[in-house]
Amino acid sequence: MSTLSRADVARLASLARIDMTDEDLDRLSGQLAAIVDAVAQVAEVAGEDVPATSHPIPMANVHRPDEVRPSLTQEEALSGAPQAEDGRFRVPQILGEEA
């Protein structure tokens, strides 16, 4: 298994939307490479014939009655937003940033 490079960490950080300075990359990439090397051993034991477990206690078709119930008011739902306007979340420009 190849170890994680500094460039890999920079690319993953941008995918995860976490800005990183050169100093951040210096600090974190060595630690991350060591962790990846340590956890890669899982591939040694898991044979083709072993099924994957995604949830410890299997459950299927969990329903609850589809009933109208009280919920947050619009004001409450927006109460934690950094910015709101006209009953909506306000964000900076979304479109055109790749141009």
Binding site: A16, A40, P56, I57, A81, P82
Partner: protein
């Protein structure tokens, strides 16, 4: 010391407090006030002598609940068993009107507009909520040093870690700041802090306690549970917290385990006919001598109570830590995507929303959170998914098979809760892999979804610090933890002459009236 007729109520168990309230020996306002004064005296964040178990104290809210309980009791109204007994809540649980940060700067100042199901259950049980306890950021850590608001200190030695991620809840109990606390356990975050502070912590069966309104870390592993100073207190709180919740699709639709009755059974009738399996892989190499010694002495005590001790082998456990540190970061990287600067929390404004997200998450998350998000993003990425996340899920199956085989030989399984007693603050902060080793004995239960308890086994002779004894039971058999735990606790407490935490050194108390 807050005395009511010379009694220091903070030193009582929660069950004793509940009985004293019912008997009219104390009021909830007096009890709550005593704990608030204790918090003011020992929790101070500005001095190196402060425990810093709390991120937020709600004196007004707690006293108002207490006064309502007292009024209802005086009016002769029927009240729940723990009504009027104060409690501390880990800051991962959402509380309407009370700040909730999960230990992260990205949620600084957020006031939730709703209650978690567990919060609502505490309100229905009429328990005054003293405040929110400190934790590693988003519950990622084993020392509470990854909190965005500074570490909690271990009341046994203020230079040492209180465990993590629930170090605040455990330290609040050990420092007599609260008789009960809520914890969350994704890889040991209830049990390991319990072990290193000489307190009791229980991770119920996966789905046993609703997670609605709990800030998610790794959804296939997370479970809320009770933190306490005695097995009975944990049992009483477990019965309040547990139960089916239609708002959580993973919630078990089955009755709450009869925890108090099981504890009574173990304490009164011993353990004749109970088979206890010692997990070979969770002792020996890497475990501190004093930890092993107290563990083995506890096994002798259990044998004396009538239990049969057998040895069981779980060979796949050697891969548990690796599987966990793939599954957890993968799920966390997805769960933490919600902190995007749009709906709640911090925003560091830039010219576009995408740049705003990058700048916000860089400023709001600490290093451990960044490490795990990147690790998870990697493990889930195309070309690596099968080798990492896929293989880790297969290891999970192997661990479940090991448990199934072991539980065919034994009714409960046991091990030390943590390999060592609490280490010094800062000692492992720059070595994530060394930090992860703390969880080696607690992680398998989360991967398999089974319940586990940690309770005090004594002090390690070499350093005088607490050692935890872990009990594991099959899924849905949480009651077995309480039966075996209460029997062992009764025998050990008789030897010690009182709960282990009574042996903790007295903390320096700030001048009366000093505020945090």
């Amino acid at each position: 010391m807050s005395g009511v007729a010379g009694v220091d109520w903070t030193r009582k168990s929660a069950v004793e407090m509940a009985h004293a309230l019912a008997a009219g020996e104390v009021t909830s306002v007096e009890l709550t006030q005593a704990h608030l004064e204790r918090i003011a005296a020992v929790d101070g964040t500005d001095t190196p002598s402060g425990v810093h178990a709390f991120l937020h104290v709600d004196a007004e809210g707690a006293l108002s609940t207490a006064a309502e309980v007292d009024a209802d009791r005086a009016a002769g109204k029927e009240l729940p068993f723990l009504a009027g007994v104060p409690i501390a809540v880990k800051d991962v649980v959402v509380t309407r009107g009370l700040p909730t940060t999960a230990g992260s700067r990205i949620l600084e100042g957020w006031i939730p507009p709703y209650d978690a199901t567990v919060t609502r259950k505490l309100r229905d049980a009429r328990m005054p909520i003293l405040g929110k306890t400190n934790m590693d950021e988003f519950a990622m850590g084993s020392s509470t040093e990854h909190s965005g608001y500074g570490p909690t200190r271990n009341p046994w030695d203020l230079e040492r870690i209180p465990g993590g991620s629930g170090g605040g809840s455990a330290a609040a109990l050990a420092a007599w700041e609260a008789p009960l606390a809520i914890g969350s356990d994704t890889g040991g975050s209830i049990r390991q802090p319990g072990a290193v502070t000489g307190t009791v912590g229980v991770k119920p069966t996966y789905g046993g306690v609703s997670r609605y309104g709990v800030i998610a870390l790794a959804s296939s592993l997370d479970q809320l549970g009770p933190c306490a100073r005695t097995v009975d207190d944990a049992a009483a709180l477990h019965e309040v917290m547990g139960g089916h919740d239609p708002m959580d699709a993973t919630s078990l639709n089955e009755p709450v385990p009869a925890c108090l009755a099981a504890a009574r059974e173990g304490r009164e009738n011993g353990l004749a006919g109970v088979r206890i399996g010692v997990i070979t892989e969770l002792s020996g190499k890497g475990y501190q001598d004093g930890v092993k010694q107290r563990f083995e002495e506890s096994l002798e005590t259990l044998r004396g109570l009538g239990a049969e001790i057998v040895e069981v082998s779980c060979p796949s456990f050697s891969y548990a830590l690796a599987a966990y540190y793939l599954i957890l970061p993968s799920e966390a990287s997805s769960n933490l995507a919600k902190f995007d600067s749009v709906r709640f929390g911090l925003r560091v404004e830039r010219e576009t929303v995408e740049k705003t997200m990058g700048a916000t998450r860089a400023a709001g998350f600490g290093d451990e959170v960044k490490r795990r998000i990147i690790l998870g993003t990697y493990a889930l990425s195309a070309g690596y998914y099968d080798a990492y996340y896929g293989s880790a899920q297969k290891v999970r199956t192997l661990i479940q098979r090991d448990f199934a085989a072991a539980f065919a030989e034994a009714d409960v399984l046991v091990s030390p809760t943590a390999p060592t007693t609490p280490f010094k603050l800062g000692e492992r902060l720059d070595d994530p892999l060394a930090m992860y080793l703390n969880d080696v004995a607690t992680i398998p239960a989360n991967l398999a979804g089974i319940p586990g308890m940690s309770l005090p086994a004594g002090l390690a002779p070499e350093d005088g610090l607490p050692v935890g004894f872990q009990i594991l039971a099959p899924a849905h058999e949480d009651a077995r933890l309480y039966r075996v735990g209460a029997a062992l606790e009764a025998a050990l407490v008789a030897e010690w002459g009182g709960p282990l935490v009574s042996q903790a050194p007295e903390l320096a108390v700030a001048a009366k009236g000093a505020q945090r």
